[in-house]
């Protein structure tokens, strides 16, 4: 029996470590560094049409974090099907597509098309990208819009649907309940926090796109708090992320109420990390005689609440 296997609704993972969208390319760039496969790999955000993304610089360092403003550069659905599918076909773990659109209809079309691909095991609906003008975060900061997008995706999808939430909201529980009600199988959270950095030598914003998304260890306390809050108000499983970099961080995220844990920024810094985390978690479970991760998921929640 595999102590590390977890269920995310209909989706079964061999272990709860996932690589986060936008930080592991389209999987094939990362896989050479992976000795043990994480339970899931979430592909870079896809849109219907090809996008070139934002001007450079697209990345800046901040205390214990990074700002990025990639702006969803991606080959678009057609090229993805043509040239990228084959590159991920051999990666023997759950492959999760991450989709964005300007309109509900775009999300719906992407869903339909991706549902047909054998290489894709689930669809993550990005309603939280802070780096694009239209769509993106706008859907993720309004419960009605979030409900609308997610229910349309659910309707069109033959695969499990993961709704990815934005932390740039007053009360994330409201959005979480909306997407649960819309039929999402899983919630993933958090996307990046909107932030900015100014170059004091020039007096100008550092990023080409002025603002960007803050990720990395700096935001972990916010991510932990939000996972902890949402775990108390929804019944669907949560993929927790935001600043996870060590086994301790993985455990903290699980204890806050996440069933699986994504690593984003930390994978960029050390592409071998996802594999190491799987190993370390296995060792930890063996040592602590944990036979099912359920026994630590949500440990920190108020006691009636343990999931």
């Amino acid at each position: 029996m595999n102590r590390l296997s977890v269920n995310l609704g209909k989706l079964q993972l061999t272990n709860p470590i996932i690589t986060a969208s936008g930080t592991c390319g389209f999987g094939y760039e990362l896989s050479p560094y992976l000795t043990t496969l994480p339970g899931g790999i979430v592909l870079k955000g896809l849109t219907l049409e090809e996008r070139q993304g934002n001007p450079t610089p697209r990345i800046a360092e901040t205390p214990a974090g990074i700002l990025n403003s990639i702006g969803l550069q991606n080959p678009g659905l057609a090229k993805f099907k043509q040239s990228y599918r084959t590159k991920i076909a051999d990666i023997d773990t759950c492959i999760i597509a991450n989709i964005s659109g300007n309109t509900v209809e775009e999300y719906a079309r992407l869903t339909e098309e991706l549902s047909k691909l054998a290489e894709i095991d689930a669809i993550e609906v990005n309603i939280s990208c802070p780096n694009v003008k239209k769509g993106g975060m706008a859907f993720g900061t309004d419960p009605i819009a979030a409900h609308q997008v997610v229910s349309e995706v659910v309707k069109r999808s033959s695969l499990p649907v993961i709704a990815k939430l934005s932390p740039n909201v007053t009360d994330i529980r409201v959005i979480a309940r909306a997407v649960e009600e819309a039929g999402a199988d899983v919630i993933s959270m958090i996307n990046t926090m909107l932030g900015m950095k100014i170059d004091i030598r020039s007096g100008c914003p550092v990023l080409g796109n002025i603002m960007g998304g803050l990720s990395g260890p700096a935001i972990r306390p916010i991510a932990i708090r939000m996972v902890y809050q949402v775990a108390q108000v929804v019944d669907i499983p949560i993929i927790g992320m935001g600043g996870v970099r060590t086994l301790e961080d993985v455990l903290e995220m699980l204890m806050a109420g996440a069933t699986a844990v994504s690593v984003g920024t930390a994978t960029m810094i050390d592409p071998a990390l996802p594999s190491r985390l799987v190993q370390e978690l296995a060792d930890y479970c063996r040592e602590k005689e944990i036979v099912n991760l359920k026994s630590i998921v949500g440990m920190a929640l108020p006691s009636e609440m343990n999931v």
């Binding site: 870079k44 697209r58 990345i59 205390p63 974090g65 990074i66 960029m268 050390d270 592409p271």
Partner: protein
């Protein structure tokens, strides 16, 4: 294939307070590294949060037999400051060799044009070109007296130097693009290699004309991962479809070296 490896600093040679040369024992990297490739290295301990990201540096010199690589570092911020202060014996986590290096031809004449620290990858290139019998001309543009030290790392190739702010020295004042123009008008070059700050690259790119097709540009862009995961490091290159439209390509995996007729400034 690139590898993640723990390497060890053998020596930190302080050229002056702005430049240092690191000799690093990293046999896995030295074994396959090519001129123009780079490494991405973690400054400070593993798991450091300050700085958080790895830093990319061109491979300056390769000594395959001893398993050594050399990096030429210019101090510009937190990371390079810390690097410069590291001591022989300290460990360094790095990934490499990364990216596509220069595509060398074994014949004819080569013009190597460097702006400042852009000289770093050109040294190994010059070594390899001359070993295969190519005639190598090196041009180096620098800003001030302190930069002059960069010429010494290229001494054996007798670089021609031009300086923006010559101050009291006897150096020629001007931009490296002027030197390049003079060279190109007086001689034919079969291979042209350029590395330096963006304004210089751009100016040369405009000036090269029909020589663009024989030229290679080594680009720099802020990097997140260095291995193609994050799309932070893009530059503009021509679309394959001949429309003349540009697209964004990752410098870390498709570059850092691009053909002159492919890159768009």
């Amino acid at each position: 294939m690139s590898q993640i490896c723990r390497s060890q600093i053998i020596e930190v040679l302080h050229l002056n307070d702005r430049y240092s040369c690191l000799q690093i024992y990293a046999p896995q990297i030295a074994e396959t590294a090519q001129a123009g490739q780079f490494v991405n290295l973690q400054v400070g301990e593993d798991g450091s949060i300050d700085p958080l990201l790895k830093r990319p540096f061109s491979i300056h010199r390769i000594d395959r037999e001893l398993g050594m690589i050399y990096l030429l570092i210019k101090v510009v911020g937190v990371g390079t400051e810390k690097l410069q202060k590291m001591k022989a014996g300290q460990g360094l986590e790095m990934i490499g060799p990364l990216g596509h290096g220069f595509r060398l031809q074994n014949t004819g004449k080569a013009l190597l044009v460097a702006g400042g620290i852009g000289i770093a990858p050109l040294y190994e290139l010059a070594v390899q070109l001359s070993e295969s019998g190519v005639e190598v001309t090196v041009l180096l543009g620098v800003t001030d007296q302190k930069d002059l030290i960069l010429s010494t790392v290229m001494e054996e190739y007798d670089p021609q130097i031009i300086m923006v702010n010559p101050g009291v020295s006897s150096q020629r004042k001007g931009l490296v693009t002027e030197l390049a123009a003079e060279c190109l008008s007086s001689k034919e070059y079969d291979q042209i290699y350029v590395c330096g700050p963006e304004p210089m690259l751009k100016a040369l790119h405009q000036q090269l004309g029909s020589n663009l097709i024989n030229s290679q540009f080594s680009l720099e862009e802020r990097m997140g991962c260095g291995v193609g995961l994050c799309f932070s490091c893009v530059c503009k290159v021509k679309q394959d479809d001949g429309t003349g439209e540009w697209k964004h390509e990752r410098v870390c995996t498709c570059g850092p070296v691009f053909m002159g007729n492919e890159v768009v400034f």
